[in-house]
């Protein structure tokens, strides 16, 4: 399955605090997309692993289980040094963010 075919993130219950902080969260994840692309370019898998780890933890907290799953896969691909796999997950993250913004 390609990243473009990925289903939109499921809607889950979000706490009032997470709802208030959501715009900032999404802004940070968009910043992550840029940082991930830059890290792939220069082969900085440690940064990718760290960003993926954080995303795995906070995606679910903000009501985005698929974003957490992408974070976990980013960690795995970064640990394996698989630039292609990382790029695929970054694309998936972009799609996820588009759905989230709507």
């Amino acid at each position: 399955m390609s990243a473009g075919d990925r289903a939109p993130d499921r809607v889950v219950t979000r706490s009032p605090a997470a709802t208030v902080l959501l715009p900032r969260f999404l802004e940070h994840r968009r910043r992550d997309v840029a940082a991930l692309r830059a890290a792939v370019e220069c082969g900085d898998f440690e940064t990718i692993r760290r960003l993926g780890h954080n995303m795995a933890g906070n995606g679910l907290s903000y009501g985005f289980p698929d974003m957490s799953a992408i974070g976990r896969r980013l960690e795995i691909e970064a640990s394996a040094g698989n630039a292609l796999g990382v790029s695929e997950q970054v694309t998936a993250l972009e799609i996820c963010l588009e759905h989230a913004e709507h």
Binding site: S15, P16, A17, A18, V20, L21, R24, F25, H28, R29, R50, H53, N54, A56, G57, N58, L60, S61, Y62, S68, G71
Partner: protein
């Protein structure tokens, strides 16, 4: 760029009601969310996205607990926890990580983290952990403050001390009462320190240069008590081989303390009343009146006015004794005094046993404050003495406490069975059961007598409460 912001009621000053949590996560979104969720649950959070700045923050803030992410830029949570524990061993640290990872959990335990939680946090569970951490941290703080207080100034009032409101009232009352000559009746449960109060009154009175003589009315048979109190002449009774002064004469210029005054037999009550009114006594077997000059302090653990109503105690004597009534508060009403006293007894016992025991762990302190102490201060003293004797560490732990304190079973009546199938003579069953009740009540004979359904005299007569169990040779009589 690191941020440091406060979430929650900005106008409210930091206080000890809302526990202050320092949240550390290099992911700003997660840090902010944790802060907001904790603020909504009654905490006062501060946020820190740069772990390198945490130690500096702690120096300037009154923080109750730290919650930190495990994987961060610059310094990971394990390293941060290690540094915090080294700098502030009293401050609990809770680690958070994205995955439930056994290695991370082991690392957290290795650096003495208070607990380990996974992301996304289950906030109910996290709040429970944080509340527990705050309670423990505050207990550690209290124990340390107690260490400092008792090391610097024991704050004794003639051997009586306590910071609780009932004890502060008591100490104030003692200060006023000590100077007057009126009779004092001290009312309080067994083990609350009634004799200590009587001694304090004596030491603070103009009579402190005289003797302080104490007698337990329940401990002496009725036929000997009169001679003990008033003295006797030679030949007054079978064993009276020589003339002897009683306590009233021996305490001339001082204070007599009669404990368990409710046990004073009706036949002796008018004689005591007369001694108080006339200020003279007559030795048993003598017609001669001897002047006495004593202050009488009495004590009871029963409702003496009910005994008056039931005609077991003379009303005129009751009013003569009860000119001033002092109530010794039970330990369960004395709040944190338990820890103050525990530290005091710990130091006494450690010194006496030449053991290097300096304090209590927080969990041990929590058990001591949670327990009901039916045997009051005496029971606490016994428990601490035993714990100091058996402990293997420099601070008493929960494991050093007897089962009934550790499990919070205050003086539950034990069953006669000792859990064995051994068949023993009835006398030995009685002996063992008395010993069990005595152990469960912390050596409190009055309470033990209540549980056993006998009066104290019977328990004294049995004298088994303190006797060792029969030697194995007694099993020869066993039936199997």
């Amino acid at each position: 760029m690191p941020i440091m912001l406060r979430v929650g009621p900005q106008a409210a000053p930091p206080n000890r009601v809302r526990p202050h949590v320092l949240v550390v996560d290099d992911d700003e979104s997660m840090c902010a969310l944790l802060g907001a969720e904790l603020a909504a649950r009654g905490f006062e959070p501060s946020l820190e996205t740069d772990p390198e700045r945490v130690l500096e923050s702690l120096r300037s803030r009154d923080v109750d607990v730290v919650i930190t992410d495990l994987k961060m830029r610059g310094m990971n949570g394990v390293e941060l926890c290690e540094r915090i524990v080294a700098a502030r061993p009293d401050l609990p640290v809770v680690l958070l990580t994205a995955h439930a990872d056994l290695n991370a959990a082991v690392a957290a335990l290795r650096v003495r983290a208070f607990d380990f939680q996974t992301k996304p946090p289950d906030f109910d569970a996290l709040v429970a952990v944080l509340e527990r951490a705050v309670r423990q941290g505050r207990l550690v703080e209290e124990v340390r403050a107690l260490d400092e207080r008792t090391a610097g100034d024991p704050g004794h009032f003639e051997g009586i001390f306590g910071a609780s409101p009932p004890m502060r009232e008591l100490v104030q009352l003692l200060g006023r009462v000590a100077a007057v000559e009126a009779s004092v009746l001290i009312r309080g449960e067994s083990g609350t320190g009634k004799e200590l109060i009587a001694r304090a009154l004596h030491e603070r009175s103009r009579r402190r240069g005289g003797a302080f003589v104490a007698l337990n009315c329940a401990a002496i048979p009725e036929n000997l008590l009169e001679a003990e109190l008033f003295g006797h002449v030679r030949g007054a009774f079978t064993d009276a081989r020589a003339e002897r002064a009683g306590l009233f004469e021996r305490a001339r210029g001082g204070t007599i303390f009669l404990d368990e005054i409710a046990e004073l037999h009706l036949s002796l009550q008018p004689k005591l009343l007369r001694a108080l009114q006339e200020r003279t006594v007559r030795r048993v077997g003598s017609d001669r009146e001897v002047d006495v000059d004593v202050r009488l302090v009495t004590a009871t653990n029963t409702d003496l006015s009910s005994a008056v109503d039931n005609r077991q105690f003379r009303a005129d004597l009751f009013y003569r004794l009860n000119v001033i009534e002092i109530v010794a508060p039970p330990l369960r009403d004395r709040g944190r005094d338990v820890l103050l006293l525990a530290q005091y007894f710990l130091e006494q016992s450690a010194h006496a046993m030449n053991r290097k025991v300096v304090g209590l762990t927080a969990s041990c302190a929590a058990k001591l404050t949670a327990y009901r102490w039916p045997g009051n201060v005496r029971e606490l003293a016994n428990v601490i003495e035993r714990a100091v004797a058996v402990t293997r560490s420099s601070r008493l732990t929960v494991d050093d406490l007897p089962d009934h304190v550790r499990l919070g079973h205050a003086a539950q009546a034990p069953t006669p069975s000792d859990g064995t199938e051994e068949l023993v003579p009835l006398e030995e069953v009685e002996h063992r059961y008395i010993r069990r009740v005595m152990a469960a009540t912390g050596g409190n004979k009055t309470l033990a007598a209540q549980i056993l359904g006998v009066d104290r005299r019977t328990l004294y007569r049995k004298d088994w409460a303190e006797k060792p169990l029969p030697s194995p040779t007694s099993t020869e009589k066993k039936v199997s």
